[in-house]
């Protein structure tokens, strides 16, 4: 650990905290209908609605809102699947790649529509530029926009005093894309190119190295995809090694901006929430609870990685763990990125997660196991967090013997049942999928390393997919490419592809429906004026209670599993 390293981490925290209220206020205006860019982009917004033949002012109740979101996502899935399977006959395919097998494509389509971006494929050796741009990058935008739209609808439900409706899905989707994601992504992409990221549609550039080896510089629309990959907490890289590739993440500065891009929207949505419910302290309370988890996680990973691994100590090498890390980021830039990408459900990686130390790898897993509520995915992070807040309110209500209330609204039995489903669905799915994979011969085919490391690979894979993160202990595989670049002769490991794909879809859409149902039930519920007996939910005390609730659920569910893999590795210097 170095002073320089800690300063970088502190500066990152400070900048993120400073951006939160700014972007939060901006998004509040966007979804209220008076966006700053409204005078310029307003006609585009109206034109788009006209094309879609939707009336943006038509209010939808929770069922109608959910139906629109689900139908749009289903349509996206079908389109993406078709584009990827037809890759061989579509344009912008300079390397002439054919399509990946059906089971892998099922996994990939589910992955990008669910905002997960789990990747069994290697981008540069299997996908055409068309698949990357018109297939994957479009979903990077739209799956993120669906997340933002849904959380805005949920907040409306929490705050609505008379209306029973949540807004209009098509209007929210358009605004999230037009005023938030697209403009920021465009500026970010140009900044990235200026710093060395590739952006070209030309075929790869051949060269002969100084010592005479023939090699290729892969070119492609990298920067444009990179911008939305980070901003939308998607995480699917253009290159197989993702943000570790110098052409995808070229310097310490780019790395810093990348990490900000991952967290800024999920963080700012807490401020948007505060403004929409008319209590900014409430927004800061949620931010504070998320931030506390984040800060502890960063400190642990940085300390663990600086200590080095048992393997390197056995070989007589001191210093930090540089296995699977890039020099230009250093241990600090890699540790911070590993935490940022797993607290947010981004899943981009700038280092090999599998080569982290035992404890350094346990923390990213634990981050995901909270259900991606520590900032989390764009939109999905906050709405999942709100379910934990309801749970905390309920627990507190039980302790003092009062009917639980949040924002002046009484929380009834139906909402609590839904909350339980919403908060427990992902953990249960994770454990069941891991158990099936680890105990069947089909699951063993995907494992690369043996022993506890192999268990960690499996646990990480299903934790990451169910919680829509997308990062991986990359030894775990579902796709085999025996003939090198291209999909010639390639085949998928069907079991891993289908189980993972199903886990991603369930982990995304089950909580999404549940939380909309909760918001629908709360919309229009009478607000009781705060009295002396009201438990305040915008105080640090409540923040601690919310943290405790999240920890309780996550720890009780996952500690046994964590003990079998990363913890046992972190506690020993032996080779396992």
């Amino acid at each position: 650990m170095t002073v320089q390293g800690w300063i970088q981490i502190l500066v990152f925290c400070a900048v993120l905290t400073a951006l939160t209220p700014l972007l939060g206020a901006y998004m509040h205006r966007v979804f209220r209908g008076d966006a700053i860019l409204g005078s310029v982009l307003g006609p585009v917004e109206r034109g788009f609605h006209k094309l879609l033949r939707v009336d943006p002012r038509q209010e939808q109740d929770w069922k109608a809102y959910a139906r629109s979101a689900l139908i749009f996502s289903l349509g996206s899935w079908l389109l993406l699947y078709a584009l990827l399977r037809l890759q061989g006959s579509l344009p912008f395919n300079p390397a002439g790649f054919g399509a990946a097998p059906a089971d892998v494509t099922f996994n990939t389509s589910s992955s990008f529509v669910s905002n997960t971006n789990w990747q069994y494929y290697a981008g540069e050796t299997t996908l055409s530029n068309f698949s990357q741009m018109a297939g994957l990058a479009v979903q990077n935008f739209t799956s993120a926009a669906v997340g933002i739209a849904v959380v805005i609808a949920v907040i409306r439900g929490f705050s609505a005093r008379s209306l029973k409706t949540l807004g209009n899905f098509w209007s929210d989707l358009t605004r999230a894309l037009l005023y938030v994601l697209l403009p920021i992504a465009f500026v970010l992409a140009l900044f990235f190119v200026s710093q060395g990221l590739v952006q070209s549609l030309s075929p790869a550039q051949a060269f002969t190295s100084l010592e005479g080896v023939r090699q290729l510089i892969t070119l492609g629309p990298v920067a444009s995809q990179e911008a939305i990959k980070l901003l939308g907490t998607n995480g699917g890289g253009f290159f197989n090694v993702n943000s570790a590739m110098p052409l995808e993440n070229s310097s310490g500065l780019v790395n810093f901006v990348s990490m900000l891009a991952i967290l800024v929207i999920p963080a700012a949505l807490t401020a948007t929430f505060g403004r929409m419910v008319g209590n900014r302290r409430q927004g800061w309370m949620i931010y504070g609870a998320m931030f506390a988890f984040f800060a502890v996680a960063v400190a642990i990973v940085y300390a663990a990685e600086s200590h080095g691994t048992p393997a390197q100590h056995l070989a007589g090498i001191g210093g930090g763990n540089m296995e699977g890390k890039e020099t230009r980021f250093g241990v600090e830039g890699s540790s911070l990125f590993a935490v940022v990408t797993t607290v947010a459900s981004c899943g981009a990686v700038n280092a090999a997660m599998e080569s982290l130390t035992g404890l350094g790898g346990a923390i990213p897993m634990a981050n995901m196991m909270t259900g991606e509520v520590i900032f989390g995915g764009v939109g999905s992070g906050l709405y999942s967090m709100l379910m934990f807040v309801l749970l905390a309110v309920f627990v507190a209500g039980l302790m003092v013997g009062r009917t639980p209330e949040f924002l002046g609204k009484k929380i009834g039995a139906r909402e609590m049942k839904l909350t339980m489903i919403g908060t427990l669905a992902a953990p249960l799915l994770t454990l069941i999928a891991t158990a099936i994979a680890i105990s069947s011969k089909y699951g063993l085919r995907s494992i690369y390393n043996g022993g506890p490391q192999g268990f960690s690979e499996t646990l990480y894979a299903y934790t990451s997919q169910t919680n829509n993160n997308g990062s991986a202990f990359a030894g775990y595989t579902g796709f085999v490419q025996p003939n090198g670049p291209g999909n010639d002769g390639a085949f998928g490991i069907t079991f891993a592809d289908l189980l993972g794909g199903g886990a991603m879809l369930a982990g995304r859409f089950l909580p999404l429906i549940v939380v909309l149902a909760i918001a629908g039930a709360l919309a229009g519920r009478k607000v009781a004026p705060a009295g002396p007996g009201t438990m305040r939910t915008d105080t640090p005390t409540f923040g601690v209670l919310a943290i405790g609730t999240i920890l309780l659920v996550a720890l009780l569910t996952f500690v046994p599993a964590l003990l079998l893999g990363p913890v046992v590795q972190g506690l020993t210097d032996r080779m396992l």
């Binding site: 139906r67 741009m133 100084l210 090694v241 310097s251 500065l253 393997a311 070989a315 890039e326």
Partner: protein, 194 residues
């Protein structure tokens, strides 16, 4: 229901055109004009032919050159993968030890004081991309003994060249400093033909 289907169908066509084609093509257009060099992979030319990219590390075996970090992918920039070497793996330890043995043997001849414990981890552990363009300054200073002796250059001059090709932290703050191996080796070739 029918309304949703229409909106989805039309919406996806329009969004694919705008976000999937217009957006990346616009970024490409601006980039090719404004940042032509970076947008095309920061290529390095020598005598009119491309010999690599400023951002892609290459394999070096000759004693005349500084050596890049170990690579799990033979420094192939067009099919990248991680080593996925686990922290407690016996094969990980073996690989690191083998790299350290080779490093000691290669550099120890020219740097008599070099011990195993003094080897920087980046010199013996594989990078993430397999094409890490940098090595740490510590690593470069050790290799400088060898390069200066083989090329018959003064150690001070080699140290100077290392400084010239060290990329500092971003804005003096972000990331870690690293020596760009390919650019340094090209500069060495210009300096001496030995």
């Amino acid at each position: 229901m029918k309304k949703d289907l229409t909106a989805t169908a039309v919406g996806l066509v329009v969004l694919t055109l705008v976000l999937g084609l217009l957006y990346p093509l616009a970024v490409t257009g601006v980039s090719q004009v404004a940042f032509n060099d970076a947008a095309n992979g920061s290529q390095i030319e020598r005598d009119g032919t491309v010999v690599g990219s400023r951002l892609l590390g290459q394999g070096f075996t000759s004693a005349r050159y500084f050596h890049s970090r170990p690579s799990q992918s033979e420094y192939n920039p067009s099919a990248t993968f991680f080593s996925n070497a686990g922290p407690n793996g016996q094969d990980t330890a073996d690989a690191i030890r083998a790299n350290a043995d080779a490093y000691l043997k290669r550099e120890g001849r020219y740097d008599a004081g070099l011990t195993r414990a003094a080897i920087p981890p980046d010199a013996v552990q594989t990078s993430a991309s397999g094409v890490d363009p940098h090595i740490t300054v510590d690593n470069a200073r050790i290799q400088a003994h060898r390069v200066a002796a083989v090329r018959d250059l003064s150690p001070d001059r080699v140290d100077e060249l290392i400084d010239d090709h060290t990329d500092g932290r971003g804005l003096g703050l972000f990331g870690a400093p690293g020596v760009n191996v390919l650019q340094l080796n090209i500069a060495l070739d210009e300096e001496s033909s030995r």
